[in-house]
């Protein structure tokens, strides 16, 4: 009896080892906390429908840093959501240009955003679009008879009215403890101005080649100095929160959903947090572009690629990885994905309710009326968005005046190359 039992156990062990060896394991690495549960469900369905392939999801909070360690140690995941220009330059990603089934379904501008400027090839597929602008409290605006500003003067007038009529409300809440948020202000306002005046492609080239004549970051009357002066003026006049250097995004959400802040700048990723904190806000959240702040410029809104998927160039499971992405990109899964992420799908055949209807309509209107800009992927490797945000912290802490800030920004940018 004992012998039979031992044989059975040994057989089971051998079978499970053989099964494990036979399975193709696809490691999937992500930094997107919003989609973990949804993707676990999709992965389970995929694994069940595809015997012999096992997809395993790994989430890391600081994914962009962790992926560097993975690249350095040679433990590169097969599929990943992290994407950096320097990895593209080093040939870390598989060329996906020939995946016409995916590209034919994608919004053309999103395909452009996924295209590497240097090689003209696509190394990632973005499933969603994200937008960034000002989230404002429609109730406060209606009460004070305000409309979203299109010029900087109108913007300041709105903030001043809010401060005068509702002294307990912070007109513009900036959560400056988090450097990335301040870095985004640079990305959307002065960089946004450059992108609209130079044109998206020319601006990318100018940044990639560090064309200082076109970028002109250090000029006393340039986009960077004027942005800095505007911010200092707002701070001086009490139109932004006093605790700008110590406030966190949680503080911002709390202030906004309780009516203690009239507006803040952020991307669509903030929406689910707002609705979670106060579901009654669904009809009260408005969306506005960044107002034009330089002569002869227009309001700007970020409309960029979001949630990009890449396959490692060194993956030994390319076919399995592509099969998984095929499954993930089908319209049904993308509808669920878009609704979980709270941002519209980049696939033309996906119709998702990604936000409350009124808000989604307002976003659509802003996209149609303001200049659409993308993220800057051509930043120097040694000067991150966080670094830019830290310079803004210094500005708000009084280390620089506007011109000093512009010069410091130009210096940091140049040294980053």
């Amino acid at each position: 009896m004992k012998k039979v039992l031992a044989l059975l156990l040994a057989l089971t062990l051998c079978l499970s080892v053989l099964t494990a060896v036979a399975d193709t394991k696809v490691s999937f690495f992500t930094g997107k906390i919003e989609t973990i549960d949804l993707l676990n469900g999709i992965i389970d369905e995929f694994n069940a429908a595809n015997p012999g392939i096992v997809v395993e999801q790994e989430y890391q909070n600081d994914a962009s840093s962790v992926i560097k360690v993975k690249f350095a140690s040679g433990e590169v995941p097969d599929v990943m959501t992290t994407y950096e220009q320097e990895f593209v330059d080093q040939g870390k990603y598989l060329d996906l240009s020939d995946m016409s089934d995916w590209w034919s379904r994608l919004v053309p501008s999103m395909k452009d955003s996924c295209t590497d400027l240097k090689t003209g090839k696509q190394f990632r597929v973005c499933t969603n679009m994200t937008m960034a602008g000002f989230f404002y409290n429609k109730e406060i605006y209606a009460k004070l008879g305000l409309t979203p500003a299109t010029t900087w003067d109108e913007f300041v007038a709105n903030l001043t009215t809010i401060k005068q009529q509702m002294p307990d409300v912070t007109p513009w809440f900036i959560f400056g403890k988090e450097a990335w948020h301040l870095g985004h202000l640079i990305e959307f306002i002065p960089h946004g101005y450059l992108k609209q005046t130079l044109g998206a492609l020319e601006c990318k080239k100018a940044m990639l080649n560090n064309d200082s004549a076109k970028l002109n970051f250090g000029a006393a009357d340039g986009a960077m100095a004027v942005f800095a002066q505007n911010l200092l003026d707002l701070q001086k006049n009490g139109l932004i929160n006093e605790d700008v250097l110590t406030a966190t995004s949680d503080n911002c959400v709390e202030a906004f959903v309780t009516g203690k802040a009239a507006m803040f700048s952020n991307g669509m990723w903030a929406l689910s947090g707002l609705l979670e904190a106060n579901p009654d806000m669904a009809d009260k959240i408005g969306f506005a572009p960044y107002p034009a702040y330089m002569p002869n410029s227009k309001p700007v809104v970020l409309c960029a690629e979001d949630s990009g998927y890449s396959i490692s160039a060194t993956s030994s499971n390319v076919d399995a990885a592509k099969a998984f992405l095929n499954y993930l990109f089908n319209a049904d899964n993308q509808k669920k994905y878009s609704e979980a992420l709270g941002s519209p799908s980049a696939f033309t055949d996906v119709d998702a309710n990604w936000a409350p209807a009124a808000f989604a309509a307002e976003v659509k209107n802003v996209l149609n009326t303001a200049v659409n800009i993308g993220f800057t992927n051509e930043k120097p490797a040694g000067f991150s968005g966080d670094d830019a945000g830290r310079l803004v912290q210094d500005l708000l802490a009084g280390t620089y005046d506007a011109q000093g800030f512009a010069k410091a920004y130009e210096k940091a940018w140049n040294e980053g190359f």
Binding site: D243, L245, T246, N251, G382, R390
Partner: protein, 299 residues
């Protein structure tokens, strides 16, 4: 003749036993080499390259070290690290010694008080930093609101608006957390001092201060040495408290060298960050050696 043989046998046996026991340290030595010596040698090699963490590394000699000393941000970080370490080491020893002297005397609830003082030391410094941030956050922290109720919130003010106040807050939080650990070492040192010596000094007419400075303090020197060395090492490599309270900001004003190393490493400057780690190693080593030499001389 026979007895001589026994002596010789005994000596040989002792020598053999000594040799045998020496081999017992081999596993520890191997582990030390694998996890300290080898990484250190690799680190030295890496610090002489421009490795970005992924691609090919090119030998660039001492360029990384030269660049470090030309970087204004790095120099600011050295200043912050040294101020933090000096402030923390001094205060930790003073407060820890004070606690130890108080806790040495018998009173009701002494054991419970010792535990309460020591408790913060076992909590992760990162969590501790966030807790203190929630307490101290200007305009929003619980402590700020408590002081507001008392009409004294202006004393807390916006502590992150100027460098000295921010550094003071960082040092005080660090001292609050680790004073208990310092106290335990001093308590052990105090308990090793024979009460006869103190009584003899008292009989000789020495005042409390004289007994403390002439008897207690010199005999506490081993404990002082341990505390100074561990506090210097801990404070010079500070990361968590600063990261959770200020993230090294505003700007890079309160960034420590450890945070700088981490940011450089994840900023694709792995070779350079390793060079800075070597410099930090030397920065830690020098004061530790000096303090060990000074306290050993007094010991």
């Amino acid at each position: 003749m026979q007895s001589k043989g026994w002596v010789a046998n005994g000596a040989r046996h002792k020598r053999h036993r000594r040799e045998y026991t020496q081999y017992m340290s081999l596993p520890a030595l191997l582990l030390f080499c694998a996890f300290f010596v080898y990484p250190l040698i690799r680190g030295v090699g890496m610090s002489l390259t421009d490795w970005d963490g992924m691609g090919e590394a090119t030998f660039i000699g001492l360029n990384n070290f030269a660049r470090f000393f030309q970087d204004a941000r790095a120099m600011g970080d050295i200043k912050t690290t040294l101020i933090f370490a000096a402030g923390s080491a001094i205060l930790l020893n003073l407060v820890g010694l004070m606690y130890a002297l108080l806790m040495e005397k018998p009173f009701h609830g002494r054991s419970a008080t010792r535990v309460i003082i020591y408790l913060p030391a076992i909590i992760s410094p990162l969590i501790m930093g966030y807790i203190w941030y929630f307490l101290l956050q200007p305009g929003r922290g619980f402590l700020y609101h408590a002081m507001e109720q008392l009409g004294t919130s202006f004393q807390l003010g916006n502590w992150m608006s100027d460098y000295p106040t921010t550094m003071t807050v960082l040092i005080l939080v660090n001292v609050w957390q680790y004073a208990g650990m310092t106290m335990i070492i001093y308590l052990a040192g105090l308990q090793n001092i024979s009460s006869d010596l103190r009584e003899a000094a008292m009989i000789d007419g020495a005042s409390t201060w004289q007994r403390f400075t002439r008897v207690t303090l010199p005999l506490l020197m081993p404990a002082i040495r341990i505390n100074i060395v561990t506090n210097i090492i801990g404070s010079l490599s500070v990361f968590d408290v600063i990261m959770s309270l200020t993230e090294g900001g505003p700007g890079y004003a309160t960034e420590s060298l450890s945070i700088y190393i981490m940011r450089m490493c994840y900023g694709s400057r792995t070779g350079y960050s390793t060079a800075v780690a070597m410099i930090l190693f030397m920065i830690i080593l020098i004061p530790v050696l000096i303090s060990m030499r000074l306290t050993r001389a007094k010991d």
